[in-house]
């Protein structure tokens, strides 16, 4: 190898080194501002909300429910709702049907499991009916027609009766799937 080709090779190496480090350093500078915000922007997706307890909410007096089990509609007023930094108190969050079964109570979410319309209780036929796409439900919440638009029965929630007051754990569920999954 001649001296000049060696020199040329050395220069070639030097240039390569300069080019790669320039690209590397520039890329780092260009990407850094975006990278610095990634955890924050993705925060809602990575936040683990699932295992937080659903709180109990007082809905009505047991004595206000008809003894024969006829469903009655009630507003659900949550004592505390958090939206980002704000804590709201006494916020209307939805509605439920409560039906009495002796000393026990069942609670159904007013929202149709199909696509979320408000379900009616029909006095005449003594069943539930969703006026949006005509799903019908029995008094126990089960789907009553074969080709029901709603893939599952009405959504129930935990209930308890304490000192004559009915408490429920108010929850919403993912619509239009077979299983009842909390959102």
């Amino acid at each position: 190898m001649t001296d000049s080709s060696k020199k040329q090779e050395k220069q070639e190496d030097r240039r390569k080194f300069i080019v790669t480090s320039t690209i590397g350093a520039s890329a780092a500078c260009a990407l850094f501002p975006f990278a610095s915000g990634i955890p924050s922007v993705l925060d809602p997706a990575t936040r683990d909300k699932g295992n937080s307890e659903v709180p109990w909410t007082k809905i009505a007096k047991l004595s206000s429910l008809p003894e024969d089990g006829t469903p009655t509609k009630f507003e659900v007023i949550l004592a505390k709702v958090r939206d980002a930094w704000t804590t709201y108190t006494d916020i209307p969050a939805g509605a439920v049907y409560l039906a009495r079964k002796g000393e026990e109570v069942v609670a159904f979410n007013l929202k149709c499991p199909h696509l979320g319309c408000a379900i009616d209780y029909r006095k005449n036929s003594n069943d539930y009916f969703c006026p949006c796409h005509n799903s019908t439900f029995a008094l126990d919440g089960a789907v009553t027609t074969e080709n029901s638009p709603s893939p599952r029965g009405m959504d129930t929630m935990d209930t308890k009766v304490e000192n004559g007051e009915v408490w429920i754990r108010f929850q919403q569920f993912v619509p239009n799937i077979k299983e009842k999954v909390p959102v």
Partner: protein, 586 residues
């Protein structure tokens, strides 16, 4: 394939030529470190635009949500403190780099013909950047930003004729409120950055038109922007980035003071790079500081390219900038050292820190009501207790030697220090004659010469003195303080017997029971000590110390806060709870 796509794009856009032109700009005399500042500033501004836009996703400009949303980002959102910290410290880096860039341009003479126009654009950009800093300082809506920006907007009113109108337009009204924030936000995130982008484009275009101004002598032979100069630029940018990340991590993000509260005074101080202006206003009238001096400086700067035509003129220009920098540094130094020497300023900073920690503690625990975080602090008994004490008690009493919040008090102390009131340690000291007549207890009152001092405490024999700490334990037990342990039933009976002087341990006339009562019916001539220092006792005492249960007619200047409606019942309760909550700190 890739090449095919690139060819297609190039064919329609001519992008290759553009990139080539951009990268193969000639650098006469070779790449040099002194040319990196412009690129660094572009990088910093780019970072600010990106991080600022990301911050936008979290910020909510209104008086009830600005502080709250920043708090939420800082303390609840993953990595929020880092994002905000980078934006905060980059802003400071930008100011430093601007000064460096400017000084390089001035010293190298790069402001002279034919580059006058570009120099002027640079000055304009400096102004826009300072405006960005000023508007950004207010957005978190914390005490610091609120009070400091109020000073800045009041200065705007100094502009002749249109000043008051400018002020109203910027503030969005007469008072600070929702529209101040929406306007400052629109300026900070919209108008100002957009103007800066426009100015940067023109600045870079003009720079390219005239090429680099070469500082002679040339160290090397000519080279190109790519890759030699870009490498130097990128390394410098990395260094800036590293410094900013270090600061962000070291301070764990940007500071966030307590939420803005117009009724809660806070010493207004601008960001550090404006401190020289702040200090200047201590010596010159506002009109000079806000109008005459800035206008003079700006006019002077615009004339500099012409002044610099001669050698002497250039020297004058360089000297002008050095003098300006030296003056600013000196004024900044004065501002900082004056604040450091000011005890009250230190106390105000400590108090703000306490409030910030406290409100964040509450917000973390229970969230923030729709009325905003200020309402949290106002409703907080711990904070209210300090403030009530400072406002109503501290002109006579002290708390650990200060006014309850940490501020020194100007008035001489004329009543007892109530930190650790009714605790074993406090009562033990009280029952010692020397302490009793000291300023810390009753030295400032007429009780210093009262029966208790002269005829009782001063007369106790050594044997009797030894029993006093026991009496103190009994009294402290009556107080039922949250931080002290209750006595056993038996022990209490034993101490009560001592109080009643059952075994005649005290000389007649010097036994406690001779004047004070505990648990008995007779009315002694001195305050009833049943439940002494307890919540009920202290509330009743503050309501009416002139009641026969307490000092009666012997009361010395202590106002009857309840009887005379000087404090509301719930305020007295808050005050009592606060006084009783914690022991004295040594």
């Amino acid at each position: 394939m890739m090449k095919g796509i690139m060819d297609w794009i190039d064919d329609r856009s001519g992008i290759r030529g553009l990139v080539k032109e951009a990268l193969y700009e000639k650098v006469p005399g070779g790449a040099r470190w002194r040319y990196v500042w412009g690129s660094c500033l572009t990088f910093v501004f780019f970072t600010q635009v990106v991080t600022g836009t990301l911050l936008w996703m979290f910020y909510s400009p209104s008086t009830q949500t600005a502080w709250e949303s920043v708090y939420f980002l800082e303390y609840q959102v993953a990595g929020g403190w880092f994002l905000r910290g980078v934006h905060h410290y980059m802003a400071q880096a930008m100011i430093v780099l601007l000064v460096l860039h400017l000084m390089q341009v001035v010293i190298d003479g790069a402001y002279k013909a034919p580059r006058e126009l570009n120099f002027w654009f640079g000055i304009l950009m400096l102004g826009v950047t300072l405006a960005l800093s000023l508007t950004g300082y207010l957005l978190p809506w914390d005490q610091k930003g609120y009070w400091a920006t109020a000073v800045a907007t009041n200065l705007m009113a100094e502009v002749p004729l249109i000043g008051p109108i400018i002020q109203k337009v910027v503030v969005g009204g007469v008072e600070y409120g929702h529209h101040t924030l929406t306007r400052f936000f629109a300026l900070h995130a919209g108008i100002l950055p957009a103007s800066l982008i426009g100015l940067v484009v023109v600045h870079i275009y003009l720079f390219r038109k005239h090429g680099i101004h070469v500082k002679e002598p040339r160290p090397k032979k000519d080279s190109y922007f790519w890759p030699d100069q870009i490498l130097k630029d990128a390394v410098a940018c990395l260094a800036v980035l590293l410094a900013v990340v270090t600061l962000t991590i070291y301070f764990h993000g940007a500071p966030l003071g307590p939420p803005a509260d117009p009724s809660n005074e806070f010493p207004a101080r601008p960001e550090w790079y404006f401190l020289f202006l702040f200090q200047l206003l201590k010596y010159v009238p506002a009109f000079w500081g806000a109008v005459i001096i800035p206008v003079f400086l700006v006019v002077w700067m615009f004339l500099q390219p012409f002044i610099g035509k001669s050698k002497v003129g250039h020297r004058i220009n360089v000297g002008f900038w050095w003098a300006l920098i030296a003056g600013s540094v000196f004024l900044t130094f004065l501002a900082v050292s004056e604040d450091q020497a000011n005890i009250k300023h230190g106390a105000a900073i400590e108090e703000a820190k306490w409030q910030a920690d406290r409100v964040i503690e509450i917000a973390n625990a229970e969230g923030i009501p729709p009325l905003g975080a200020v309402s949290l602090l106002r409703a907080d008994p711990k904070n209210q207790g300090r403030r009530l004490f400072a406002a109503h008690c501290a002109s006579c009493h002290r708390y650990n030697g200060h006014d309850g919040r940490g501020y020194p008090v100007d008035d001489p102390q004329s009543a007892a220090d109530l930190a650790g009131f009714a605790s074993t340690a406090w009562v033990t000291e009280l029952l010692n004659y020397d302490h009793y007549v000291s300023d810390k207890y009753f030295g400032g009152t007429k009780f210093k010469d009262g029966t208790m001092a002269r005829k009782v405490l001063a007369k106790y024999t050594e044997e009797e003195n030894k029993l006093l700490p026991e009496i103190a334990r009994l009294l402290a037990d009556e107080a039922n303080l949250p931080y002290e342990e209750k006595l056993e039933e038996e022990k209490r009976d034993e101490l009560l017997a001592l109080f009643y002087n059952d075994d005649l341990d005290f000389e007649d006339g010097r036994a406690c029971i001779d004047c004070h009562d505990i648990d008995s019916e007779d009315e002694g001539s001195a305050p009833d000590l049943t439940g002494y220092g307890s919540r009920e006792w202290l509330i009743a005492f503050i309501e009416n110390p002139e009641d026969s249960r307490f000092y009666g007619k012997k009361n010395d200047r202590m106002p009857c806060y309840g009887r005379d409606d000087k404090l509301k019942p719930e305020e007295i309760e808050i005050l009592v709870d606060w006084i009783r909550a914690s022991p004295a700190t040594p």
